[in-house]
Amino acid sequence: MDETILEIRNISKSFSGVPVLEDINMCIKKGEVHVIVGENGAGKSTLMKIISGVYKKDKGELFFEGAPVQINSVQKALSVGISIIHQEFNLLPHRTIGQNIFLGREPIKSHFLKTIDYEHICKRSKELLEYLGLDLDPRTLVYNLGIAQQQMVEVAKALCFESKVLIMDEPTATLTRKETAKLFEIIKKLRSEGVSIIYISHRLEEIKQIADTLTVLRDGKVVGSLSIEDASIDQIIRMMVGREIKDQYERHYHTHGEEVLRTENLGAKRFSEVNINLRRGEIVGLSGLVGAGRTEIAKTIFGEDAIEKGSVYVYGKKYNKMNTQRATRLRIGLVPEDRKEEGAIVEMSIRHNIIHAVLPRLFKSSVISKKIELSVASKYKEELNIKAPSVNKLVKLLSGGNQQKVVIAKWMCADCEILIFDEPTRGIDVGAKAEIYAIMSQLVGKGKAILMISSDLPELIGMCDRIYTLKDGKVTAEFSRTEATQEKILAACV
């Protein structure tokens, strides 16, 4: 059990002169789950890409089973026995599960004709799927699988390579609670058979359940490795951010103002008969499993999806039809779930994005003044502490947290009264999360109203004045801040 399978010695790496990893030392033991945590930009992904042969290291050595190895390509890593499951899967959607598992090394039936032995593929794939507890036909197209099942196909692919080290990059980010539990079972099963798993995660709650050893990275350096029994969540956070976060969810509660938003029997594609309301100075949460209709409700209120039944009241005025132009004119803002595709134009500058929503109001004559634009954008960049050398930097070059701040800045700049936050902290590191919570508190402090959607229950309970729970497109319960507990909310959601 204590045998070291992979040793990382003094690895360094820099991109265009900026050091990303400095002198990393780490030991992965045989048959352990080794969790690596760290804020975004701490260097976790880079390190994993070096181990799996995607990037080349600048300095340092790798030892596999005690012998030095040169891993200079993905193929080499695979042949040694190291495979990686990326956050974005490497699957061909229009091929079958079996074809994907054997992609690039299809067994040959006849050496003369080079025909592929599909029977073998089917048989072996079926065995692997069964081993993983999946009742799936290997001839199913990957296109027809859910996210969790696709991930299992990736695992099967890794098993098929007889990998000794399996790297998983945020495997649970898109999984439901149930799917996560299943994944953990499989991880434990693999561990018992001597496979080492390197597991990267943002979800500190999970780590306790699954980890044997924990390594914390910060700013490209190893802060420390410790056994999981010795670590508390607070301690991990402290190691990650290098400072103490006393109360992540810093809220001052205010007396609520008048009602600004109400839905009346609202119904559309994935939900029906939704009645919720929102007052000035409060944060209202929407909780529910993925697919319960939370995002759809947000998009319908904002006018991106059409209202099919019922109506939306904004500042007491009834609307049976809504579109995004009207919503923005009514000072509603949506911070969407998918930051890169729906929140910010990542190919454009911070300045462009911050000023985007306020443009027609800021420049009534329709002619843009670069001076005003710069000063307004810079003001919000300062105010929200967006970490970038200048407002002319492209958003795609920022970290997730800073990208999210740009999206929020866009709506603050447009002076929105009603803000809808859909999973505002997903994939964002702990430090930036706290900043976003602070911004939200500040906004309601100024009398704005916030509708917040989140899968992270502690966050929801910590931030919200009231929480609505949703199940299958219907509101099942409403809890006040004092009533809400994780158990009650979960019970109302499933």
Partner: protein, 314 residues
């Protein structure tokens, strides 16, 4: 070395322009007349309809119907212009251009047809319509009052130059300096985000295709005035030439990048290169190949420019 590479990547188009120009000038006996031909006559035509393509490409689409729009609108207008209803004719021509652009825009935004398919399909439809309208006839011998638009000059500079520069300046102002222009770029870069920021993206795209249609009609009108003949096959290669000029200029098909200023350079490279091959007495058979090569190489250089932007401190 780094500096030189950076400089070369940044200014390679200008360098290329001068290189081509010096080659063609060195072999002709009358280089001034040659340059005058290219800049005052050949380039303005191509430029105006290429601007239309560039704007469509900025929205993330493209407009392959430029040529047929030019033919249809000018042929319809020619019936009036030949009767000396010049202003009415011009107005009708531009209105038809805008109308056909509107149709393209509606197909793309409301019917959600892919821009390539929409405008390519429309190209056939409109071309068919103009064949039916003209049924083999041509309209020619317009009055001098009309022909002067393209034939005349002021202070020794062709009217074509004034017209194309005026259009260029207006477009640059609208697309660089106004809220409308900014929103067009945002919509091109990411339509969804723009819509979710409260921009009426459908309307913007429709307006851009209308502008594109008007530009196509304008260049068509200038051709008719210059060549003194309105005919159904005008502009059969407008669409692809304009796309080439746009791409060589560096406006990316992804949308939200580039601009009409880039396209000026693209058009000049194209016109200068064609002329250079002609005066070098290169066989026509080779010209298409060279031309295609320039498109591919400029795309590669644009990619290199992006990839090494950081390294070369561009």
């Amino acid at each position: 070395m780094k500096r030189i590479a950076g400089f070369a990547l940044n200014y390679y188009k200008i360098i290329l322009l001068f290189a081509i120009l010096s080659v063609s000038s060195s072999v002709t006996q009358d280089p001034l007349q040659n340059i005058k031909n290219m800049i005052m006559i050949q380039a303005p035509f191509v430029m105006i309809y290429s601007f239309g393509m560039t704007l469509a490409v900025i929205t993330g689409g493209l407009d392959l119907s430029l040529g047929s729009v030019a033919a249809f609108s000018t042929c319809a207008a020619a019936f009036l212009i030949i009767k000396d209803q010049i202003f009415l004719g011009i107005a009708v021509c531009l209105l038809i251009g805008a109308g056909l652009g509107l149709l393209n825009g509606l197909l793309i935004t409301k019917a959600k047809v892919n821009p390539f398919i929409a405008t390519y399909g429309m190209d056939w439809v409109i071309r068919g319509a103009v064949y039916i309208m003209m049924s083999g006839a041509m309209i020619y011998h317009f009055s001098n009052d009309f022909k002067i638009i393209a034939d005349g000059s002021f202070l020794g500079i062709s009217n074509l130059v004034y017209i194309s520069v005026a259009i260029l300046l207006i477009l640059m102002f609208v697309f660089q300096k106004t809220v409308f222009g900014r929103n067009v770029y945002s919509t091109g870069a990411n339509t969804k985000v723009s819509r979710l920021t409260g921009v009426n993206t459908d309307l913007l795209i429709i307006i851009v295709y209308m502008i594109s249609g008007v530009l196509a009609s304008t260049s068509g009108l200038l051709y008719v005035a210059r060549l003194d003949c309105a005919e159904a096959f005008l502009g059969k290669n407008f669409g692809l030439q304009a796309l080439a000029a746009t791409l060589i200029g560096g406006t990316s098909l992804q949308g939200g990048k580039g601009g009409v200023g880039n396209t000026v350079i693209g058009v000049l490279i194209m016109v200068f290169l064609m002329n250079c091959l002609n005066v070098l007495k290169v066989s026509t058979l080779w010209q298409d190949a060279v031309f295609g090569l320039v498109i591919v190489v400029s795309a590669l250089l644009e990619m290199a420019k992006q990839r090494y932007a950081n390294y070369l401190q561009l």
